[in-house]
């Protein structure tokens, strides 16, 4: 008898531990999100505050609905944190839980949905027509009336950009464009007058700077190849598009993948990096370490996106360097195509599995509100795409000094790419980075990519997807008539 008692006591002990710790470890109930002081260390009292706030909030917790909001942006976190705090203070019914996930965002979302713990609002990591078939996001049409839709300007809602099958899934928010960033003092040192006007000139300048200033640790060109997808998309791709090539390998006119227009660009990059003129260690450098090197005056030029850089060099890695922004060069200097916007026309989505659609919409409206976006624009955190928000706003100082930062007519949304393609093996960005560093031959790389990508797309079409083809298409006119 005693033995069984002892055993059951043991089992009870384990069970109670399970219960206690399962309860104990639960995520902290809503706490204050504090804007992060970037430079100074903070004083101790700040630590006391959140504890009291948390316990006070717990008593009213049951009444407030928590809406979880995820994004990947680091450069605007301080500003967004402030706007969220303001909302949370003023709104009695809703509490916004804002989280920034810098890495692996796309598959975090996948994981979240597969385990039924998805956020209510999140930045769309992929195009809408990749995300909608997965069943992740809800249509927004029922939430909006015509008046609300009008504030987004004319032609704001485009199939394939923020609409799928006629329903709206995301709203225009901010956009960003790829640009060339260069260090004017370095240029002056070697006697270069202005930014390169063509791809060939960019290579020439890169070589010149490296040749002359290598002894001081200064190099002409750098790129954040540690993330092939991110780096190629902001450097090689815009040059290809502007030179009359394809978007991410897809030829809309022919209705298939054709990477041959990448050849001159990849070869130019290869000349720089495989030839030893690139910043050493580029192959294992991420964008932030690259920016610190640029801020330290070690890099002549690099390609990146217009919305982040000003904030980066003002607060994240403040610099004294005389840097400027220019247009992305093209092959031969001629503009033969529009440049795809880095996010333009869509941004956030509301989860289809949210338990509180009304409250989520409230938050969604707030995120896209004039109030929030006006301040965003003035703080130079991005090119805002909502006309009503920009009315009466003071353009940020950097816009005046560097007009190339702004969006122009050559920045536009290309048509939507084939969605949910499952390509066997390495993606094109990884292949091209390998080619740039001389590990594989450029022609062989292009042929391999064409084979694999078309095989994957043909398979999708076989399974019932409609082949995307616009017979009258060309990169500069973007004629979608059939």
């Amino acid at each position: 008898m005693k033995r069984i008692l002892k055993l059951s006591l043991l089992v009870l002990l384990v069970l109670s531990l399970v219960i206690v710790f399962t309860g104990c470890g639960k995520k902290d109930e809503p706490k204050e999100t504090k804007p992060i002081e970037k430079s100074e260390a903070t004083e101790a009292p700040k630590e006391e505050e959140p504890k009291e706030e948390a316990s006070a909030k717990e008593t009213t917790e049951d009444e407030k609905v928590t809406i979880r909001y995820w994004s990947t942006n680091r450069h605007d976190k301080a500003y967004i944190d402030e706007t969220i705090e303001k909302f949370n203070k003023e709104n009695d019914k809703i509490f916004i839980d804002y989280e920034v996930y810098a890495e692996n965002f796309s598959q975090m979302i996948d994981l979240a949905f597969s385990t039924d713990s998805a956020p209510d609002i999140f930045q769309l990591p992929l195009q809408v027509n990749d995300t909608v078939p997965k069943g992740y996001i809800a249509p927004l049409d029922d939430f909006m009336d015509d008046e609300y839709k009008a504030r987004f300007g004319e032609n704001a809602f485009i199939e394939g950009v923020n609409m799928v099958d006629g329903k709206i899934y995301s709203l225009p928010y901010t956009s960003s464009e790829c640009r060339l960033f260069y260090n004017q003092s370095i240029f002056e040192k070697v006697g270069i007058e202005g930014p390169p006007a063509s791809l060939e000139q960019m290579v020439e300048y890169a070589k010149k700077i490296t040749d002359e200033l290598k002894g001081e640790g200064i190099y002409g060109f750098a790129c954040n190849f540690a993330s092939p997808g991110s780096s190629i998309l902001r450097s090689v791709d815009p040059i290809v598009q502007k030179s009359g090539g394809v978007r991410e390998g897809y030829d809309f006119k022919a209705g298939k993948f054709d990477f041959s227009s990448y050849k001159p660009v990849v070869e130019a990059f290869r000349e720089i990096f495989n030839g030893g003129y690139g910043f050493p260690g580029s192959e294992s450098m991420n964008i932030d370490p690259l920016r610190t090197q640029f801020a330290a005056g070690k890099i002549g030029m690099y390609l990146s996106v217009s919305h982040a850089e000003p904030g980066v060099y003002a607060t994240q890695f403040p610099t004294e360097e005389n840097w400027n922004c220019a247009q992305v060069p093209s092959v031969g200097g001629e503009i033969k195509g529009k440049q795809q916007l880095w996010y333009g026309g869509y941004y956030y989505g509301i989860s289809s599995k949210t338990k509180y659609p009304q409250e989520a919409w409230e938050v969604f409206k707030y995120i896209h509100s004039d109030e929030v976006l006006k301040g965003y624009f003035e703080a130079n955190l991005g090119e805002v795409m909502i006309p009503t928000a920009k009315e009466g706003a003071n353009p940020p100082e950097t816009y005046i000094r560097m007009p190339d930062l702004q969006i122009n007519d050559n920045d536009a949304n290309w048509p939507a790419l084939p969605a949910n393609l499952v390509v066997e093996g390495k993606l094109y960005a990884d292949v091209f980075v390998a080619a740039i560093f001389g590990q594989i031959d450029v022609d062989a790389a292009i042929e391999d990519l064409n084979t694999r990508y078309n095989a994957a797309y043909d398979k999708l079409v076989e399974e019932g997807a409609e082949r995307i083809i616009y017979p009258n298409f060309d990169p500069i006119n973007q004629d979608l008539s059939k």
């Binding site: 692996n104 796309s106 598959q107 540690a226 993330s227 260690g281 294992s284 949910n420 093996g425």
Partner: protein, 311 residues
């Protein structure tokens, strides 16, 4: 007939007697089944399908395996990198560990302290240390290059984590983490060899080095065999510190098998548009397990042959 009945009833009777034992085994057994067997079963059940993480599972038969053996060059690259890693790591770690074990086996104060210092890396988090090494080996701001430059050994900073040297750096970190562990194993083995054998050898006039090769090594052989096999298996499955140190890069230079599998489930590169491939991932992981099994098998056969030779 009777005998069979008897055996069965004896077994049943034994089971009844040992009820408590089974109860005591139960918690651990449940965890074992859930956390060790279940994932293997899951992988086995998914390997004939194509599954992207959402939507439907699609039966594709052995297509995953055909793909592994004919179309997936990246996987076999990762296998080669794994072999590189395992080979280099063991070649540098084991002899050094053995040497240290021989030097430090006598239990005296100084030796104990040295042993404890050298063993220290095993108690620290691999991920945290990988981060520290990332800082140390950083090309521009890392202390490794700073020291080398201030000592005048190099002019330009060495690109430790670049395409050419990343594997070297990974090996350095692996050796750093492994010496202590194997040294202790060797010491345990060495202490198993009694003092008397050494004494009688010395009486016969044998020198230290001769003793080492003719007595120590042969007597250590069984333990050596065991340690080598353990080291082999563990090294094949090492991917945590590589993941933190280089992420498998740059350009896949340090991508090892199990890291490749991890990436099929949790893709690492940001901005990649590819959906996950769970079916394929399951198939690849089984091939990986098989590869490890094959190498262990080869090793065991070789070891047995060697045994037969020396006898």
């Amino acid at each position: 007939m009777r005998k069979k009945e008897n055996k069965l009833s004896m077994t049943l009777h034994k089971i009844k007697e040992e009820r408590t034992t089974y109860l005591m085994l139960l918690p651990n057994l449940i965890m074992f089944v859930v956390f060790t067997i279940y994932p293997i079963a899951w992988a086995l059940s998914f390997m004939f399908y194509e599954y992207k993480g959402f939507g439907e599972k699609k039966w594709i038969g052995i297509d995953n395996f055909i793909r592994i053996f004919t179309r997936d060059h990246d996987f076999w690259d990762s296998v080669i990198h794994t072999l590189e890693y395992v080979g280099l790591k063991l070649i540098y770690t084991l002899p050094l560990a053995l040497l240290l074990a021989v030097l430090l086996q006598k239990s005296c104060r100084r030796n104990s302290v040295a042993q404890s210092v050298i063993f220290m890396p095993t108690i620290m988090s691999q991920a945290v240390m990988a981060l520290i090494f990332y800082l140390i080996f950083n090309t521009y701001n890392g202390s490794a290059n700073q020291y080398l430059q201030s000592l005048g050994i190099i002019n330009q900073p060495i690109n430790w984590l670049g395409v050419n040297l990343a594997m070297v750096t990974v090996i350095i970190v692996a050796v750093w983490g492994g010496i202590g562990n194997y040294m202790i194993y060797f010491i345990a083995g060495l202490t198993g060899i009694g003092e008397e054998i050494y004494e009688s050898a010395r009486v016969d006039g044998a020198g230290d080095i001769r003793i080492f090769f003719s007595i120590t090594l042969p007597m250590l052989a069984p333990v050596l065999k065991m340690i080598l096999m353990l080291a082999l298996v563990i090294s094949f499955m090492d991917y945590q510190s590589i993941m933190v140190l280089t992420g498998g890069g740059p350009l896949g230079a340090t991508n090892v098998m199990f890291l490749y599998v991890y990436q099929l489930f949790f893709p690492i590169s940001p901005g990649s548009r590819a959906p996950q491939e769970f079916g394929y991932g399951a198939a690849v992981s089984l091939v990986c397990a098989a590869i490890v099994g094959i190498f262990v098998g080869i090793y065991l056969i070789l070891a047995r042959r060697l045994d037969n030779l020396t006898e």
